[in-house]
């Protein structure tokens, strides 16, 4: 499409301004992680560090014990992702392809449920987990995370299963192949992109979740990254250098995921089902 030159110029200016606006706060966190404490607390601030140091990274993993937070987050997020893919792909397939009565109301119900704020269930879940003796355990987070991420995964996967030509399913069914085999051997491989999308969304949601992690797993050894970072600010001053050093380490794996899976993330975001 031919368009006036001024509009192209405006487009570039807005785009670059927008990207810089996103990155500037991030830049500030990045350089602060490498500044000595004296510079972190200096005013006027040094926009570019005068001295660079790795001491905050050493401190984060030594004195502040950031390592276990990362381990806990990885265990919880990876387990949740696998459970969601397992249950979500089956349910998504059934809702897309099998003659189950009341599919449309069920899909709406799932959508509404996925929108409920966590605060709505936190008190009963807490008394329940406490009575079971499950507070400060991995399952205290894995089970609720699975439940909260399943509706969205079912939606995404159902959309992918709907796109597989119906003839393929009928051909397999008439052949006498069992429905489960049809699902595992024919449908699941075709819908790998859907699995990627659901996996990245579930992983990011579990990795970033805060309220459940804060109230269910508050003991120091069971904290996930968000809880560890939120409760860092203890004693007299906030140890920003250490907080940002730990933050950067926990941001890297997610940015790698984003770079690799960006296409699937965008397709997930734009499928009408929108989750932040």
């Amino acid at each position: 499409m031919i368009q006036p030159k001024w509009r192209t110029v405006v487009g570039y200016v807005v785009l670059i301004g927008f990207l810089v606006g996103i990155l500037l706060p991030f830049y500030w966190m990045f350089v602060t992680a490498f500044k000595p404490n004296a510079e972190i607390a200096s005013y006027p601030p040094h926009l570019i560090p005068a001295h660079w140091t790795l001491s905050h990274f050493v401190e984060a993993f030594g004195k502040y014990g950031f390592g276990p937070f990362i381990r806990n987050s990885v265990i919880v997020s990876v387990s949740t992702t696998f459970l969601v893919l397992f249950f979500g792909s089956m349910a998504g397939f059934a809702l897309a392809r099998l003659p189950i009565p009341g599919r449309a109301p069920l899909m709406i119900a799932l959508l509404v449920i996925s929108m409920f704020p966590e605060i709505a269930v936190v008190s009963p879940l807490y008394v329940l987990l406490r009575t079971l003796g499950w507070l400060n355990s991995y399952q205290a987070l894995i089970v609720p995370y699975t439940a909260f991420n399943l509706p969205f995964a079912i939606w995404i996967l159902r959309n992918y299963f709907l796109q597989v030509p119906g003839a393929l399913f009928e051909a397999a069914a008439v052949d006498g192949a069992s429905i489960y085999r049809t699902f595992y051997q024919i449908f699941l491989p075709i819908t790998t992109p859907g699995l990627f999308t659901a996996a990245v969304f579930t992983f990011v949601a579990s990795w970033t979740e805060f309220l459940f992690a804060l109230v269910f797993n508050s003991s120091n050894s069971m904290r996930t990254i968000p809880v560890g970072i939120a409760l860092f600010s203890g004693q007299y001053t906030v140890p920003y250098g250490t907080i940002f050093a730990g933050s950067l380490v926990s941001v890297v794996p997610v940015i790698v995921l984003v770079v690799i899976f960006r296409k699937w993330i965008v397709s997930g975001l734009t499928q009408g089902a929108v989750k932040g």
Partner: protein
């Protein structure tokens, strides 16, 4: 040897009657859906109903369990006479409406401006996804340091630009703290709205624009007659989802202000957490939770027709 035949004389082998196949498929379908539904129901629907029960009780945590003592609507009566509850309700509503409106507006304007930029596409997508994938607590700590009243970089930049004369304690003043949290939210979510709207824009066939140009339509007319009608659905839906999410706002105020100064930034979720886990009033805390659920339900029901369209669109695709 004769093949086995039934009374109608047709072979049974290799023939599946349509009803049986359908019944078999339905049974398999239930088997595939049920595990997921049990997990979802057990962790969302059952607790929501159970919190209604808890909210009608005086709940005491004991060493290895809890005791309930039915007191009817007393917790709700306490709640509606507490000014903090009404304030958190107002704050949550105000916060959700303002942030989501601004995010949609900025998202639309930015997406329209950059829609035709052909270069930097991969880089832009990655950069725009960074705030989305960032742990909210981390971005809250990042803004905490930027807003700091003593050595915050925001004061430095604004003083350098002569916008302010003396350093401002952004998070220590009620109205400024509300705006500061909103800015942090807008920073995190606008890029995500831009991605959604850009995808919508890219699905509009270029012929539409060309035809409109041939007819002599100006940019304004093109926007209102072609672009907006095509985007309306996705904008409305994104807005609804964002509003419902914003209703649960917890992480940003928890880290930045802990609901303060005073109760200026106490959202429903912050109030609920405080009543439940700091005051240990599980009955009253559950009443706050139930109030939140009612609000979300009311909004969802108002938009039920939008949901229904989404399901039917998915079916025809």
């Amino acid at each position: 040897m004769k093949a086995e035949v039934n009374s109608t004389g047709r072979s049974l082998v290799g023939q599946v009657r349509p009803e049986t196949l359908r019944a078999r498929q339905r049974r398999a379908g239930y088997g595939m859906i049920l595990p997921g539904l049990i997990i979802i129901g057990g962790i969302t629907i059952f607790p929501i109903l159970y919190s209604v029960w808890l909210s009608l009780n005086n709940v005491n945590l004991t060493v290895n369990g809890y005791q309930t003592n039915f007191i009817g609507l007393k917790n709700y009566n306490t709640l509606i006479h507490v000014q903090a509850f009404w304030h958190s309700l107002w704050f949550t509503f105000y916060y959700s409406v303002v942030t989501v409106t601004l995010e949609l507006l900025f998202g639309l304007l930015i997406a329209l401006a950059i829609n035709n930029v052909q270069k930097l596409k991969n880089l832009s997508v990655v950069v725009m996804l960074i705030p989305w994938s960032l742990i909210t607590v981390i971005s809250a700590q990042m803004w905490n340091y930027i807003y700091d009243g003593v050595y915050g970089v925001l004061n430095y930049v604004l003083q350098f630009l002569h916008v302010i004369g003396a350093p401002v304690t952004w998070l220590g003043t009620p109205t400024l703290a509300v705006s500061a949290i909103m800015v942090a939210d807008i920073w995190k979510t606008t890029p995500f709205v831009v991605i959604i709207i850009l995808a919508g824009l890219q699905m509009i066939p270029t012929e539409y624009y060309e035809a409109a140009r041939m007819d002599g339509a100006n940019s304004w007319q093109v926007f209102w007659s072609i672009i907006f009608p095509q985007l309306r659905g996705s904008i409305a839906l994104a807005g609804l989802f964002r509003i419902l999410q914003a209703f649960g706002v917890f992480d940003l105020p928890f880290v930045l202000t802990n609901g303060g100064p005073g109760n200026a930034t106490t959202s429903l979720a912050i109030l609920g957490e405080q009543v439940l886990f700091q005051e240990l009033h599980f009955g009253t805390g559950s009443a706050v939770a139930v109030a939140t659920v009612l609000l979300v339900l009311i909004i969802s029901l108002l938009f039920l027709s939008a949901f229904r369209t989404l399901v039917t669109e998915g079916d025809s695709a």
